[in-house]
C-alpha cells in the first residue's frame, strides 16, 4: 500500500473575474512507504497546492487522492500525516514544549504522556533545554525545528513539508537536512518535501519530481542521492547494525547518536560525490526543459 497515490489529479482555482487558474493538471504520483520524494519547480507551478491536496487542505477538481489506502479526508481525520509549513506557525501563547504537544493535546492524550513525548521530540531536534521558552525567544531556525518536532508528535507514517528550510542560512540548512534524513531513517516515514533548492532536493530524496507551471504538471522524475547510513566515503558506519525500528520510544541520547545512525559525514560525503553533481545537473536540465 502506497503512502500517497495521486491519479489524474487536477486543481483549478476559480478566481472570478480573472478567470480560472489551472494550478494542477494530470498529476500521477506514487510515494512508497519510507520513500523520500521532493517536489521542485518554478514559483507558481503548484507544489504547495499539490501538498495541500494530499493534506486535505484543498479539494482536487478532478482525479483521486489516496493517502495510506484511505481518502485524504479520512487520513487527515485519523492524523495519518504530520505537516510542516513554510512558516513555523508556532503558537506564541504556548511554551516551546507545549507547541510540540499541540497535536497530542488536540487529540486528548493525557498530560503526562504528551509531555514525555514532546520532551523526547525536542531532544531529537536538539532543543531539549529550550522547552520552557516561548517561540519568540528562539531563532527562526530553532522555531522551524520546533515545528518539525511538532509534525512528528503523532508518529505519522507520512510527513508533508513545504519549504521548511526556506528561511535558514546555508550551514543551518545543511545541518537540518542531515537531521531530517536521520529522522526519516529512524521513523521509517515517507516524506513529501517541497523545495526550491536543487542540491537540497538531490541530497534528501529517493526521487526528485520536477514540475512546470501553467498548468502545473509533472515533467520529469529523477533519482536523487539520498544517503544511507555508512555510505559515506569515510566508511565509518557499521553495516547492518541499525535497528530498522521506528522513532525511539526510548529517548535518544541528546547529542551522541549511535554510530550506526546516519552520520553527518555520510550526508557530506554525498554532497561532495560525483553522482551528486551529476544528479544536480540532471535536475537543472529537467527544470530548464520544463520552463522552455
Amino acid at each position: 500500500m502506497n503512502a500517497v497515490e495521486l491519479t489524474g489529479v487536477g486543481k483549478t482555482f476559480d478566481t472570478g473575474a480573472r478567470g480560472p487558474v489551472h494550478a494542477l493538471s494530470g498529476i500521477e504520483l506514487r510515494v512508497e512507504p519510507g520513500e523520500f520524494v521532493s517536489l521542485i519547480g518554478p514559483s507558481g507551478c503548484g507544489k504547495s497546492t499539490l501538498l495541500r491536496v494530499v493534506a486535505d487542505l484543498e479539494q482536487p477538481s478532478c482525479g483521486s487522492v489516496v493517502v495510506g489506502g484511505k481518502s485524504a479526508r479520512q487520513a487527515r481525520l485519523d492524523q495519518d500525516y504530520g505537516i510542516a509549513f513554510q512558516q513555523a506557525g508556532l503558537l506564541e501563547w504556548r511554551t516551546v514544549v507545549a507547541n510540540v504537544e499541540l497535536p497530542l493535546h488536540v487529540h486528548g492524550v493525557a498530560k503526562a504522556e504528551r509531555r514525555a513525548r514532546a520532551a523526547e521530540l525536542l531532544a531529537l531536534v536538539g532543543l531539549a533545554e529550550f522547552a520552557a521558552l516561548r517561540p519568540s525567544q528562539l531563532s527562526g531556525g530553532m522555531q522551524q525545528r520546533v515545528a518539525i518536532a511538532r509534525s512528528l508528535a503523532t508518529r505519522p507514517k507520512l510527513l508533508l513539508m513545504d519549504e521548511p528550510f526556506g528561511a535558514l542560512d546555508e550551514m543551518t540548512r545543511e545541518r537540518m537536512q542531515a537531521e531530517l534524513l536521520r529522522i526519516a531513517d529512524e521513523t521509517g516515514a515517507a516524506v513529501l518535501f517541497v523545495t526550491h533548492s536543487i542540491p537540497e532536493a538531490v541530497v534528501l530524496s529517493d526521487r526528485v519530481v520536477v514540475m512546470s507551471p501553467r498548468p502545473g504538471r509533472i515533467t520529469d522524475v529523477i533519482d536523487g542521492r539520498r544517503p544511507r547510513s555508512g555510505s559515506g566515503p569515510a566508511g565509518r558506519g557499521v553495516d547492518g547494525a541499525l535497528p530498522d525500528s521506528a522513532l525511539p520510544d526510548s529517548a535518544l541520547p541528546d547529542s551522541a547518536l549511535p554510530d550506526s545512525v546516519l552520520a553527518d559525514e555520510d550526508v557530506d560525503g554525498v554532497r561532495e560525490s560525483a553522482e551528486f553533481f551529476a544528479a544536480v545537473t540532471e535536475v537543472r536540465e529537467a527544470l530548464r526543459k520544463g520552463s522552455a
Binding site: R52, A55, D56, L57, R76, L77, Q79, Y81, I83, F85, Q87, G89, L91, E92, W93, R94, L102, P103, H105, V106, H107, E129, F130, L133, R134, S136, Q137
Partner: protein, 269 residues
C-alpha cells in the same frame, strides 16, 4: 505573527517610571494650582464661575465621609457594569466568531450602539426599572462597556493567521478546540485593550447616568444638587472625587492589560 502590543513590549527593556519622568507633570500641576489660587484671589472671579483650590480642598476635607460613600456607590455601579459589559462583549464576540447568524445580528447592533449617545438611555431605563434601584445605571454602564470590548475582541478573534488555520485543520481540530487553542489566546491582547478603553468610560457613564434622575446617592447626583444649591466649592469637591475615581479605573485597566499581555524578555539559556 505580529501583534502590536507584543511588538511594543519587545522593543526594548521595560522602563520603570523613574523620578525623572514623574516630577515634570507633578511640578506642572502644582504650578497650575498656585496660579489658579492667585488668579481667583486677586482678580475677583465670582465663586460660581471658579472657586479657589483652597476652598475646594476645604470642602473635600469637610465632606470627606460623604465623598467616600458616594464615590463607593458610583464606583460600585461602574464596576458591576464594567464586569457585566465585559463578559457580554467577549461572549458576544465569541458567538459572532462561531456563527454567521450571530455575527450578522450583533455586529450592526453594536456598531449602532457605538454611534448612539448611550447615556441618553438613562431616563428610559430609570422609568423601566424604577428610581429606587441601581439597575438602570449599571445597565447604562454595561451598554457603554459592551461596545469597545466587543469591537476589539471581534478584531482579535479575526486575527487568525492562515498558517494557524491550516495547522488546526490539519490537526482535525473541532471548532471548539480551534477557539480554545488559537482564537481566544490570540485575541487576549485585543480583549485587554478593549478592557483598558472601557474602564474609564464605565466611570463616566456611571456618573452621567446619575444626572438623569433615580437614586441620589452617587457622585453625579451630588454634583448636580450641590451646584443647584449654589454650593460651588462643594460641587467641585465631588468633581475632584470623580476625576480620581476615573483615574483609578483607568490605571487599573492599564495595569490589567500590562500584566496579562506581558511577554517574557528574550534570553538564551
Amino acid at each position: 505573527m505580529t501583534r502590536p502590543t507584543v511588538a511594543t513590549a519587545v522593543a526594548g527593556p521595560r522602563r520603570r517610571p523613574s523620578l525623572d519622568r514623574v516630577w515634570p507633570p507633578v511640578a506642572f500641576g502644582i504650578l497650575a494650582l498656585v496660579l489658579w489660587e492667585l488668579v481667583v484671589t486677586f482678580s475677583g472671579v465670582p465663586a460660581f464661575l471658579l472657586p479657589a483650590p483652597s476652598a475646594i480642598a476645604a470642602q473635600v476635607v469637610a465632606a470627606f465621609p460623604t465623598i467616600l460613600a458616594t464615590a463607593a456607590v458610583t464606583g460600585g455601579n461602574a464596576l458591576v457594569g464594567l464586569v457585566v459589559g465585559f463578559v457580554m462583549g467577549v461572549g458576544l464576540a465569541l458567538l459572532a466568531a462561531r456563527s454567521r447568524i450571530v455575527s450578522e445580528l450583533a455586529t450592526p447592533l453594536v456598531s449602532a450602539a457605538a454611534a448612539v449617545p448611550i447615556v441618553a438611555l438613562a431616563p428610559v431605563f430609570t422609568t423601566m426599572f424604577g428610581s429606587t434601584t441601581e439597575v438602570p445605571r449599571r445597565l447604562v454602564v454595561s451598554v457603554v462597556v459592551v461596545v469597545p470590548v466587543f469591537v476589539s475582541t471581534a478584531r482579535g478573534l479575526a486575527q487568525v493567521t492562515p498558517v494557524h488555520h491550516d495547522l488546526m485543520t490539519a490537526l482535525a481540530a473541532t471548532p471548539g478546540q480551534f477557539a480554545r487553542f488559537v482564537r481566544l489566546p490570540g485575541a487576549v491582547p485585543y480583549i485587554m485593550t478593549g478592557l483598558r478603553l472601557a474602564a474609564p468610560a464605565s466611570v463616566i457613564a456611571a456618573i452621567v447616568a446619575e444626572y438623569f434622575g433615580g437614586l441620589q446617592n452617587g457622585l453625579g447626583s451630588r454634583i448636580t444638587s450641590a451646584a443647584a444649591n449654589t454650593a460651588y466649592a462643594r460641587a467641585w469637591a465631588f468633581v475632584v472625587a470623580s476625576i480620581i475615581l476615573g483615574l483609578l479605573f483607568y490605571l487599573a485597566g492599564l495595569l490589567a492589560e500590562r500584566i496579562v499581555t506581558r511577554t517574557p524578555t528574550r534570553r538564551e539559556p
